[in-house]
């Protein structure tokens, strides 16, 4: 056994390292945490009361894109991790810059599965904009120290699940009905986390499984327990929970170089292996990014982007 090979691999890997250090962001985060600690819980309770009292969402002007373009979004991408602008690309090929200091896609940037709705963080809140019209829904500011981010879309693009959270701990979930702008508070049982909105109903993950290496994942789909069995593939590792995506009547479990597709009863439907990066389920199959090409897992190339792009495809949210 040669340890020199391992040393050489480390030397090779170090060439890929980016520059992730951001003093300004660290200081901003520090200030926010100190403010949050000082503000106490009273403010958070007040903020939640405001949110559920009917003030949210409201129609407002967006500062990002002026006016409707009457086309739907194809992707959000940035060509590099640091210093590159982020673009929204429409299905007709036009591109709009979303700015240079945005979260790195997919981050908190999201497109509905049909590409019609664009969701982006704005200040301490979140904005959802109809790309085919002039409707914009914007949340008020999150509770102190928290941010509001997109969690999951329904496959029909009519519902977006959002969460108000800080450092991964969610204080509240919200369902935004895009057909009328109304918001409701879903009932999430204690110890469970919603990971998707399926054709049958919400898909819940039992949180006690986090961080425990396992090939099997227990879920609750519309009130019924469903087990995803990766067989020889570890679906949960020590660093975090499984990477799950839900679209319609399918659940996708993503691991390194593989995606396993299950139906809502936990029956394995397909298993894809690829050398590039998994992007998420699309209307014509699971999408991957390889060698600058966005393609279905079966190999059909849809479009090209710069080779090191970080991408959010329609339907992609936190889960």
């Amino acid at each position: 056994m040669s340890k020199d090979s391992l040393r050489a691999a480390y030397r090779a890997l170090e060439e890929e390292a980016g520059d992730y250090a951001d003093a300004g962001r660290a200081l901003t985060t520090l200030r926010r945490r100190r403010s949050a600690a000082a503000a106490g819980t009273a403010l958070a309770v007040l903020a939640v009361l405001v949110m559920v009292s009917g003030l949210w969402p409201t129609r407002q002007e967006s500062s990002v894109i002026a006016g409707p373009v009457h086309a739907v979004g194809r992707s959000i991408h940035t060509a590099c991790m640091h210093g590159c602008p982020t673009f929204l690309t429409y299905t007709d090929g036009r591109q709009v810059s979303l700015g240079e200091q945005t979260p790195v896609p997919p981050g908190n940037l999201t497109l509905s599965p049909d590409g019609r709705w664009l969701g982006i963080p704005v200040g301490d809140g979140f904005e959802v904009r109809d790309l085919t019209g002039d409707t914009v829904y914007r949340t008020p500011s999150a509770a102190s120290g928290e941010v509001i981010g997109p969690w999951a879309w329904s496959a029909d693009s009519r519902t977006l699940l959002l969460a108000s959270h800080a450092s991964g701990d969610v204080s509240a979930y919200y369902l935004l009905d895009l057909t009328n702008g109304r918001i409701s508070r879903p009932e999430v049982p204690k110890g469970f986390e919603p990971v998707g909105l399926s054709a049958r109903g919400p898909v819940l993950f039992e949180e006690s499984q986090y961080g425990k290496r396992a090939t099997r994942v227990r879920l609750v789909v519309a009130g019924r327990e469903t087990v995803l069995d990766g067989r020889d593939v570890e679906l949960i590792n020590q660093d975090g929970g499984p990477a799950l995506e839900v679209r319609g009547d399918r659940i996708y479990a993503r691991v390194v170089g593989k995606v396993i597709e299950f139906d809502l009863d936990g029956v394995e439907v397909s298993r894809y292996e690829f050398s590039g990066r998994a992007l998420g389920p699309g209307p014509s199959g699971y999408l991957v990014f390889t060698d600058g090409k966005v393609a279905t897992a079966s190999g059909a190339v849809l479009y090209e982007l710069p080779k090191e792009s970080l991408i959010s495809v329609p339907g992609r949210a936190r889960h």
Binding site: S5, R11, G18, A23
Partner: protein, 163 residues
Amino acid sequence: MKGFQEFVTARGHVLSRTAFLLTGDHHAAADLLQETLVKAAARWRRIEAGGNPEAYLRTMMLNQLRSWRRPRRLVFWSTAEVPERAAPDSSGHSDSRVALARALSRLGPRQRAVLYLRFYEDLPEAEIARQLQCSVGTVKRHTHDALKRLRELAPELLEAGHE
């Protein structure tokens, strides 16, 4: 906090490299380093007074890695995301780079820490034990477990003549 900002500007790339090699993942590295910087900013005067802030932050990052559970809901890509190279790489380094990044994503934090210190920084076990504040026996055990796991995940990284 001018000193903190100047330090990050000057040495951030070195700390970024450490964070990346400890995680094998760009997003995880960014999160690990940023969390470390937030904590360092809170006690910057004391760190600066110590005379070697880079070593201090590196140790903070190692401790952070071992005790820190990355906010799970912020994990989009727990798997390795190694950007495609613009040009073909015939050296074989590209394969080993991808294999190592993927393998790191499957190892535990302590295993990643000992592998990084042993095979990237080439530190002896006693020094690793000092840095990780554990016994030499614990370092040996984590190294053994990490190499065993690595042998399962990416045997090519431990094969003779791979270079």
